[in-house]
Structures are given as C-alpha cells and as structure tokens.
C-alpha cells in the first residue's frame, strides 16, 4: 500500500500539485486520471522520488519514503517497477539484455538463471523469439510489453505506469491494459497507472483518482465514475460527442 499525504510540489514558484492525499491499495490497479498538464506525471515522479517534494509524506507500506536516507530509498526503489510513456528501453541493449539488466545489477543469479527468468517474463507478456532484437526493431506495443517484462523481472511490490497505452492503437492499448491488470492481481502488486484514456478507466480502474489543476477532485471506482456529479470530472470523461451521446442514453 502506498499512502500519499498532503503532497505539494511547485516548479519555479508555480504550484503544480496542491495538498494531494490518496491511498493506493495493494492488489489493485489504481488509476490517476486527468487532462494533460493536470499534474499526473509530476505526482508519479514525486511518489517515486524523481522530484523532491516541498510538503507532504509518502509512505510505502508504512515506510516514510521522504524521510529515508539515500541507501534506504535505494532499497525501496529496488521494489519498484516502472513503465515509462516512451518505454525507456536501453537502445544499445537487446530485448533479452534489457530484461536481464535489473537481475545483472541487483542479484547474484547465474547467467542461466537470469536467462530463464527473462524468458519467463517475456513469455508472460507474449514476446516470443524476439530476444536478440534491439528496441529500434520493435513496434510500439512490443516495446511496451518488453518494458513491462523488465519492470516485473525482480518481482516488484509496486508498479508505476505512466500513460502505458499512449500512441498505441485501441486493440493493442486494451491488451496492454489487460496485461497490467492481470500482473497486478497475479503478483499482488500495488499498481499506479497514469492515464487519460477512458477505455483504461472502464476496463481496469479498480480505484480511480481524478486530478484537476494539481488537486485531487474525485476518487472512486470505475463503476462509480459514470454516476459522478462533479462537473469537472464529467467534462473530462464525457469530452467526446460519442461519450456525451452514451451518457444521454444511460
């Protein structure tokens, strides 16, 4: 479980996040939704320590991340898997090397053991016989899947995904969402997904938090969201004409 308490963050005097408090539960796919520039990515980066926060607390299963020293933070980071918007695979390494990298870095496993684990993770995300290809030789969806395989290589307790299906066609996007959800439940991880994709919200949103102008505006489940009364949230969810017509016919 990850608890965020009264988190505030600003850049050069401009406030980006204001007093955000939220709890992300274990074994659930927790979604953070909001329009571009609302502060979703800053929230994610602040939680994992890529941005220093001005105020607030972040607790990983009770461990207060913000007050930990460098070494202790590093230990928590080893428990984190992160899926980036652009996949962030290492260009100069093959698919296999990318997935084996965390094991190379943090375990004393033999090459055979690492290879076995890498192949298992790759098979889990349906990447087969692509071990020796470089990221530049993969499609966008494949890159995302390899990135997921790398993220789960060390059995992380926490998985963070930043707009995992951006730039993907709807079918592939649904597959990636389903994969994230399956892995979350299978390994009992605390998963936090940043998205503005409504398909993702409806398909995998065990818990949804809506962020608006740097503040938490609404939280609930994907079932609650269709009946929410918040104007800002409804404007965001039912932005397209198609969605508006669906809402009218509900």
């Amino acid at each position: 479980m990850i608890e965020v308490r009264n988190l505030s963050k600003s850049f050069n005097g401009t406030s980006v996040l204001r007093d955000v408090s939220v709890t992300f539960h274990t074994g659930k796919t927790n979604l953070v939704i909001g329009s571009s520039g609302s502060g979703k990515t800053v929230l994610l980066k602040s939680i994992i320590g890529l941005h220093e926060i001005e105020e607030g607390e972040i607790l990983y299963d009770g461990r207060e991340f913000t007050k930990l020293g460098f070494k202790e933070k590093k230990e928590i980071r080893k428990e984190i898997g992160r899926l980036f918007q652009g996949s962030a695979l290492f260009d100069s390494s093959t698919v296999e090397e990318n997935v084996m990298f965390p094991m190379d870095m943090f375990t004393d496993m033999t090459f055979e053991q690492k290879l076995e684990r890498a192949n298992f993770c790759l098979q889990r995300v349906n990447i087969i016989n692509k071990n020796h290809l470089f990221p530049s030789e993969l499609s966008g969806g494949m890159k995302k899947r390899v990135a997921i395989a790398r993220a789960i290589a060390l059995n992380p307790k926490y998985l963070f995904c930043d707009e995992p299906n951006s730039g993907l066609d709807p079918q592939t996007a649904i597959l990636i969402d389903a994969l994230i959800s399956e892995i979350t439940h299978e390994y009992n991880m605390t998963t936090v997904v940043n998205t503005h994709d409504m398909n993702s919200v409806m398909e995998i949103g065990d818990k949804v938090m809506f962020i608006y102008n740097g503040q938490k505006y609404w939280e609930g489940s994907n079932n609650d969201i269709l009946n929410a009364t918040s104007t800002e949230l409804n404007d965001f969810i039912f932005a397209s004409n198609l969605a508006k017509r669906i809402k009218e016919n509900m």
């Binding site: 980066k45 994992i48 890529l50 590093k74 230990e75 980071r77 080893k78 984190i80 992160r82 980036f84 918007q85 652009g86 962030a88 695979l89 290492f90 260009d91 990298f101 965390p102 190379d104 870095m105 943090f106 963070f160």
Partner: protein, 247 residues
C-alpha cells in the same frame, strides 16, 4: 556568477560519478564496450589526420627554412618535436573532443530525454556513475595509446612526404628525428593526454546528463559540450605547459 554555478554543479556531478560501483563486474563489461566505442573506433581518424599533419609539418618547415646554414636534419627534428609536444596530444585531443565529445553528449542527452536515465534511477542504479565512469576509465587509460600511435604515424607521415615529394633527403629526415631526442617530451604529452581525456568525457557528459526537452535541446547540449571541452583543453594545455616545461 553563472560560470561559478555551472562549475559547482559540474563538481557535484563529478562527485556523483566517482562513487563506488554497484556491481563491479558490470562496470568492467561497460568499460570494455567504451574502449571499443571511444578508443578503437577513433584509431582510423587519428591515423589519417596524423599522417597528413606529419607530412604537412615536414613540408612547411622545409619550404620555410631556405637558409643554407641551417642543416636539413633540423626539419626532421622540428617535425618530431612538433608531433611529440603539441600535435599528438593537443590536436588529437581537440579532434577527439569533436568526435567522441559529440557522441557522448548526444548519447547521454538522448538517454535523458527518452527517460532511460530515469529508468536507471528508479531501479536504484547510480546512473551518472554507471553511464559515465566507464567512459572516463576507457578514455583516461587508453587515449595515451592513441597519442603514441599519433606520434609514430605523424613522424612516419613526414618520412613519406620526404620520399614522395623529394623535398629533403629521407636520410636527413631520419637523422633529424633521432637527433637530440628528449624522452621527457613523451611523458609531457601523455600527462596532457590524460587530462584532456578527462575533459573530453566529463564535460559533454555533464551537458548531456542535465539536458531537458527534446531533440533540439540534445543537439544544443552536445554542441555546448564540444565547445566547452575544446576551450578547456586549450586552457589546460596552457596551464600544463607552464607547469611542466617552465624552468
């Protein structure tokens, strides 16, 4: 003030780079890759430039020394000492600042903007150390071999100029390159090479590491890295020459 801020930031970056590697074996592996990328891949350009520069230095010296009182073997001596004292360390350093520096700046900068560095940080890896320390190690320990190669090839280029142009008898050139040889000049050149190698790898890496934005900013950071490392090489050359050669 801006300079002081940048210098302080650079020093902090260097202290981050020189921390104990997480997994020494991986660093060795990375270092071997960097030796290939930064040193072996530069052998070709060093040979080509050195051979032509050696030849040109020899010919220019010959055509500017028309005085019959000056013995011809001094042309060989001049070519040799120019290569040893200045060309093979400083000129090759500047050329490598362009070739290797831009490659390091754009590689690290691209890794930054495509979030590959963030990915390393999230995994708990000291990204500055992991990415840059192997480059420094490779360049500092192996660029001296490039300098020595440049010395041999440049002096040989002068010999070829003698043979093919007939500007002076090769015998005089060969005598000149052996005449009054001061071995300390090689040590001097190698000390400079080590300092230049450090500059060539760390300055572009610094600009690449802290880039933000997109491809345009990566290009700018890479250019800034090359420009500043070239200026620093020239400055270091002046300081080291005064420190080492002044009597």
């Amino acid at each position: 003030m801006r300079f002081l801020h940048d210098f302080g930031h650079y020093c902090l970056f260097i202290s981050q780079v020189f921390t104990k590697p997480e997994k020494t074996r991986l660093y060795y592996k990375q270092t071997v890759k960097e030796i290939e990328k930064l040193v072996i891949d530069s052998v070709g350009i060093v040979i080509v430039i050195s051979i032509f520069m050696g030849a040109v230095i020899t010919l220019q010296t010959r055509y500017n020394l028309e005085n019959p009182l000056i013995p011809l073997y001094l042309i060989g001596l001049t070519a040799r000492d120019t290569m040893l004292l200045e060309f093979s360390s400083t000129m090759v350093g500047l050329i490598l600042a362009g070739k290797v520096g831009s490659s390091i700046g754009s590689e690290i900068g691209t890794m930054r903007v495509t979030e590959q560095i963030d990915a390393l940080e999230i995994m708990g890896v000291n990204s500055a150390s992991f990415l840059i320390l192997p480059k420094i190690t490779a360049a500092v320990f192996f660029n001296p071999f490039l300098t020595m190669l440049s010395m041999f090839v440049g002096i040989f280029g002068g010999y070829l100029a003698c043979v093919f142009t007939g500007a002076l008898p090769p015998v005089d050139y060969v005598y000149g390159i052996q005449y009054w040889f001061i071995p300390f000049y090689i040590s001097y050149a190698l000390v400079k090479t080590v300092v230049f190698a450090f500059i060539i790898t760390t300055v572009p890496a610094y600009y690449g590491y802290y880039v933000s934005g997109g491809a345009l900013e990566v290009g700018k950071a890479s250019t800034r890295g090359v420009v500043f490392s070239s200026i620093l090489i020239l400055l270091a050359n002046l300081i080291l020459t005064e420190l080492i050669l002044a009597k």
